[in-house]
């Protein structure tokens, strides 16, 4: 359906992962701006953003109709739509594809919700492993602090309320995020994430991110294909 995952593609796939509040979206945004400014062909895509699937997700979340299984499947549907219509064709065309969250978000959150890990990995079996996955690591308290200070209106699923961890939404959020973090830390080794110390300043992190990026990806090769 999508060709072999081992097939060498001219483009490169870069993902960021981490807890809410870890600053990963800011970092990938800055990386995106930098690459765009240099004239590279770059494409940015976000978790849970496919137009086709959005309506169903919104409805399901609003009515609290989702079970762990359908919650997971609906996000996989969204991912597949973006993957097959955008990410993969663009990788074939030699683009730098930047993803704010990738399948690891599902592996972490859905496993916490009780989905079988092997089932989840098979579900996303069609997706390529990114060339670099930056994981923004932050102590739980710091991540919680950032979210709870700035955005006190927590959403039902975001706080893991469907798991009945606590009747108090803030407490539920704390427990849920703690469990998600545990999953990430296990995966960091399993999938060889590039771990970033997210406690440092935004600027310092970005400098390091760009340095790692340049070390792992031969940008000169991308310049050659880019005809202006």
């Amino acid at each position: 359906m999508t060709g072999s995952k081992a097939e060498e593609l001219p483009g490169k796939l870069i993902a960021v992962e981490g807890l809410d509040g870890s600053g990963k979206s800011t970092q990938i945004h800055l990386l995106h701006q930098w690459l765009k400014g240099k004239g590279y062909r770059v494409f940015f895509t976000e978790w849970n953003s496919s137009v086709l699937v959005r309506e169903a997700t919104r409805k399901g979340k609003k009515r609290q109709l989702l079970t762990p299984t359908t919650f997971s499947l609906i996000h996989a549907t969204d991912f597949a739509d973006r993957y097959e219509r955008q990410m993969l064709p663009l990788l074939r065309a030699g683009y730098l594809v930047l993803c704010d969250r990738y399948m690891y978000t599902s592996f972490a959150r859905d496993a916490v919700r009780g989905c079988d890990k092997a089932w989840l990995r098979n579900l996303y079996g069609f997706a390529r492993v990114p060339d670099i996955t930056f994981f923004f690591r932050l102590p739980l308290d710091v991540a919680l602090g950032r979210i709870l200070e700035g955005r006190p209106q927590l959403k039902y699923f975001e706080a893991g309320m469907d798991l009945a961890l606590s009747p108090d939404i803030t407490e539920s959020f704390r427990i849920f995020q703690g469990r998600v973090l545990e999953q990430y830390l296990v995966m960091a080794k399993e999938f060889g994430f590039t771990v970033m110390d997210a406690t440092r300043s935004v600027h310092l992190q970005q400098k390091e991110m760009r340095a790692i990026f340049q070390k792992k990806i031969d940008l000169a090769a991308f310049h050659k294909r880019f005809t202006q």
Partner: protein, 231 residues
């Protein structure tokens, strides 16, 4: 009562031991008479004092409407479409089939994962990936597959619609530019996939070329056995 099982592991939060009803699946191509027979069976079962629930594909409140709309536009990749169907399936499994079985109902399913898997595989999906996606499906108490000859299928399809549908002709598969030719090739491929699955999943083949009352009698005899077995 025989204990229910899942093909793989159960979905999170579902206890198979609490499912006391029976899940009976009718599979077969469009125009094979599935819905006619399900209606006859439902009436008959209720007359005998069994509570009946009917389920089918694309009927979930979660994505049913979106799926319908997306198919009209024909803009989804095959994998997205198959995951959309999987979402619809599990939504119904968890929110309709399982609660009905827990309450002791006989659930009549107008098609099940087999149609979904056959369609995906015919469109080039990796059979192992497909089987894995549906591995949390409950194993039915019985699956009846209405087998119908291609000529009868064509005849009945034209009788009821006087045209061939886009999806049931597999026009998205690029098998032929000729609509009729595509229909024939697509239906053959689906059938071959069903025959392959028949052994693996233990379908009972039912000759659907006969008259409605003849097929109905046949199904009732077999379902009676299923119900007796589980009492």
């Amino acid at each position: 009562m025989t204990a229910k099982r899942f093909y793989g592991i159960a979905p999170a939060g579902i206890d198979a031991a609490k499912l006391s009803g029976q899940l009976i699946v009718i599979e077969g191509p469009d125009s094979s008479g599935r819905s006619t027979h399900i209606n006859l069976l439902a009436q008959w079962l209720e007359e005998q004092g069994y509570a009946v629930a009917q389920v089918g594909l694309k009927r979930s409140t979660l994505v049913g409407a979106e799926l319908e709309r997306a198919k009209e536009g024909n803009v989804l990749s095959p994998r997205t479409l198959s995951l959309f169907y999987a979402t619809d399936f599990y939504d119904q499994l968890e929110n309709r089939i399982v609660p009905a079985l827990r309450a002791g109902f006989v659930v009549l399913a107008d098609r099940y994962i087999y149609t979904l898997m056959a369609r995906d595989i015919v469109r080039g999906a990796d059979p192992e990936w497909v089987a894995s996606v549906y591995s949390m499906a409950l194993i039915p108490d019985a699956v009846f597959y209405l087998v119908i000859s291609l000529s009868t299928l064509v005849e009945r399809t034209f009788q009821s619609h006087s045209e061939l549908g886009y999806w049931e002709s597999g026009m998205d598969c690029g098998l032929s530019r000729d609509w009729f030719q595509s229909f024939v090739r697509y239906q053959k491929r689906i059938r071959n996939e069903f025959l392959r699955m028949q052994k693996k999943y233990g379908f009972q083949a039912v000759n659907g070329n006969r008259t409605i009352p003849a097929v109905d009698r046949d199904l009732k005899v077999r379902i009676q056995q299923v119900l007796q077995r589980s009492e």
